[in-house]
């Protein structure tokens, strides 16, 4: 797969928040001001950039069916893929702990401003989601994993930045009382997601992989399309008749 294609795809078309709803909890909780949103977004990029390639290596050399072949041919039948959740989450949790310690040591100011949100990254679904999608996508090399991790991190960053800016502005507008806060944020996110769906039509040069349709919704669209077309065609036929 073309690297640039993968990069753009992971930022816009398969955006972690707008296409898969991953990392919504911290997205909703930390998006009240732009400043904290930027801090959290940058850390998410960083953690994704490290954990996705690391988990890629673990997946290809330890967990996949037949991955242990490099040890000896005797192990070629072993399938450890059921362990992937626990391995991935262990890598992520220890990485987050490491990042926390490094940030605390070298930049106490940033550490203070992020506060509780640093350890919360460990349970940000977009991080684990990045690794699990990586596992589904059968990347051919570690560069693709790095590009994918960085791209989806940037996508998440963009999303939280946008919603934080909108929420800062919306504080002055006249929203119905029961809809204030969480409700209106959900609806705005939905509208933004509709906007982001328009990126689906983008096709860059390079061989398009048509088998990558992982979301339930895209599968549904695929299912629905021929249906509606045939209906239209038959309707036209009846009209002609």
């Amino acid at each position: 797969m073309d690297l640039l294609n993968l990069f753009v795809k992971s930022i816009f078309i398969e955006n972690m928040i707008f296409a898969y709803f991953l990392g919504m909890c911290s997205y909703l909780a930390v998006s009240k001001t732009v400043k904290t949103a930027v801090g959290l977004g940058a850390t998410v990029i960083f953690v994704l950039l490290i954990t996705v390639p690391l988990n890629y290596l673990i997946d290809t050399y330890l967990l996949q069916p037949g991955a242990l072949r490099w040890l000896s041919e005797d192990y070629a039948n072993i399938d450890l893929s059921f362990l992937s959740y626990i391995m991935f989450i262990a890598v992520i949790a220890s990485m987050v702990q490491l990042v926390e310690m490094v940030v605390e040591k070298f930049s106490p100011a940033l550490y203070g401003s992020l506060g509780i949100f640093l350890p919360l990254i460990a349970v940000n679904c977009s991080i684990l989601g990045g690794s699990l999608f990586m596992q589904q996508k059968d990347f051919t090399g570690i560069t693709e994993a790095i590009v994918y991790g960085g791209g989806s991190g940037i996508g998440w960053f963009l999303a939280i930045l946008a919603i934080a800016a909108i929420r800062e502005k919306i504080a002055y507008s006249n929203v119905p009382a029961p809809l204030k806060g969480l409700g209106i944020t959900f609806i705005i996110t939905g509208l933004m997601a509709i906007g982001f769906m328009s990126f689906m039509g983008i096709k860059l040069e390079g061989n398009e992989d048509t088998k990558e349709k992982t979301t339930a919704s895209t599968i549904q669209i695929e299912k629905n399309k021929p249906d509606s077309k045939t209906v239209e065609v038959t309707l036209n036929k009846t009209k002609n008749e």
Partner: protein, 248 residues
Amino acid sequence: MSEQKKEIKTKEEKKKEEMILFLSKSEEKEAFLSRANRKLLTDPLNDDNPITVQMLGICSALAITVQLRPAIVMSLAVIFVTAMGNVVISLLRNLIPNRIRIIVQLVVVASLVIVVDQVLKAFLYDVSKQLSIFIGLIITNCIIMGRLEAFALGNKPWKSFLDGIGNGAGYGIILIIVAFFRELLGSGKLLGYEILGHKGLTLADSTGLYALGYENNGFFLLSPMALIIVGLVIWYQRSRNRKLIEES
């Protein structure tokens, strides 16, 4: 003399009454479904709903609400994991060092999720394919971590169990509401049965609402509608339950 005796008697009686009251109260405390325990079960369904009020667990919730069946399976899985995870952590709560508690919690949850994943693969393969990575994402579902942190670390196992079931059910309710509307309006079916009538290739072939010219709203199958429906659910809930309204 008689009066004094009476006074003593009444004092004794009072003491007895107090004892009885005390006993009954302590019994009530230990009863399996006392009022406090029932509150643990029912609160998360409305007043303290994990999704609409505590703002937890939205991540993996919305993408699997296109159809009702996976949504129900998902909520059962989450109820199982929250309840069992709460019990395990509550049993271990005095043994876990504070510094590494997050990793311990994640490992416990991850092993429970592996159990769920393998069971689904064995008995409900098609649903487990539909749920794809979202079963794995139960691990990072914030409801589970949130309840472990906020409740199981400080409470006894039975209470934690009830709290886990209550919160899992609160999550499930929202999931099922959203999935109900999305499947009904998006494809005219519920659990795979055609509710709004059968859609034939032409108007004459179709029955039910489709015979009147109704068309499925394909928009409900796309992911943004899940967010908007949850927004509307929150709107409805808060207009009924005014104390939940936020300040800003």
